[in-house]
Amino acid sequence: MLLCQSSELGRSDEFLVPLTLVGLVTLLVLASEIGGVSLALQLATGIAFPWWAPAVALAVWLLLWKGTFGVIEYGVSLLGLVTIAFVVAAVRLRPEITELGRGLLPSLPQHEPAHYWYIAVSILGASITPYLFYYFYSSGAVEDGWNEGHLRLNRVVATLGTSFGGGLAAAVLVVAALVLAPRGIAIESCEQVALILTTSLGRAGFWLFVASLGIACFGAALEVTLAVAYMVAQGLGWNWGENVKPRHAARFCATYTVVVALAMLIVITGVDPLKLTLLAMALTAATLPVAVVPFLFLMNDPFYVREHCNGWIGNGVVLAIILLASVLAVVSIPLEIMGGS
């Protein structure tokens, strides 16, 4: 995808701009994921999260070094099913159907509008994640040997997967609203979040939360690291591949090694992973135009995708979302920073 993109842009030097920008933002995202795993370990053991960062980074690196694309993709996905605990908890809390319906309707914030829009932008950035579909899954298609015949299956999987993920995210919101709001609790730290499953699932709820946080962030860390390595290697024309032995793709492996090390250093500084996550996702939303517009060109160029070009609805929806996300991000990030968060 990246080699197409740089050909499409026509000049490698201009391609270096989105490469650098998206690379830097993705590094922050990786740091927030490693921070998330470290936080889960802090909740489980009581040892502060910066101390866990080197071990987590080493685990991520080891799995990339020894694992294959299939192990990373399927293994982590299967383990990630532990997050269904949120759906179970949501059901057990018996939410009012009418309240659920009302929650589906968009509404304007009652207070702290800057913070509200900042979180909205972060959610947008986390949902669209260009580095994943762009680099990870398009490279994965090559690693797994997909072809045009897989297109329909891919559409089904993408639709089901996104719906499943969206449903899980909604379950988290429902549980948080039903457990925290009546008690007047405003989340400021991860320790508080860890308690939201205990109301409906007891002591097991705490460990399920820890497992969910740790596994989800670990999986994301693997994918994001690979995404950066794919991006750099493909953009510069190097040998690459998770299914290739490291000695046959030395620059690719060196890239993900350096990236994991840098992200680990960010976490070691002790920056709050929660705040880092919100910022990284908001920056992802802000840089969406840079990441996604060239992708749109590819999706409309019959030279590359032949008869599978985007329709005007697809183009319109994507353009509208990325414009909305980037405008909101550009406005809300400075407001959030000035607000002292």
Binding site: E8, L9, G10, R11, E14, V293, P294, F297, N300
Partner: protein, 104 residues
């Protein structure tokens, strides 16, 4: 750069003027064809961007202009023998614009 050679990656995107010094657009593409054992230049494609010219230094901007119907892109085909690369930073067409084939 050795004498008698030009680098495609440097000349592409440069502003092109005609024999009278009037701006024609930017060099977008070089079309080559086989001639015996060699591949030689057949023509150069120069695109004019009108009001969008100030942004046309960026390839991504030129790509957007081609996709969006906002700016009228006028493509001129310049046969190889009419392009002068004495100054690679400013390629020059050796005839006035009016003598080139109509844009299309």
């Amino acid at each position: 750069m050795e004498q008698g050679e030009i680098h495609v990656e440097i000349v592409v995107g440069r502003k092109v003027v005609d024999a009278t010094g009037r701006p024609l657009g930017r060099l977008e593409e070089i079309v080559i064809e086989r001639e015996g054992d060699e591949w030689v230049v057949r023509e150069y494609l120069v695109d004019g961007y009108g009001a969008g010219e100030r942004f046309a230094g960026w390839t991504i901007a030129r790509a957007m202009f081609h996709v969006l119907p906002v700016i009228e892109g006028r493509r001129r085909r310049v046969p190889w023998h009419l392009m002068d690369f004495s100054d690679p930073e400013q390629p020059r067409v050796m005839v006035p614009a009016a003598e080139l084939a109509s844009p299309g």
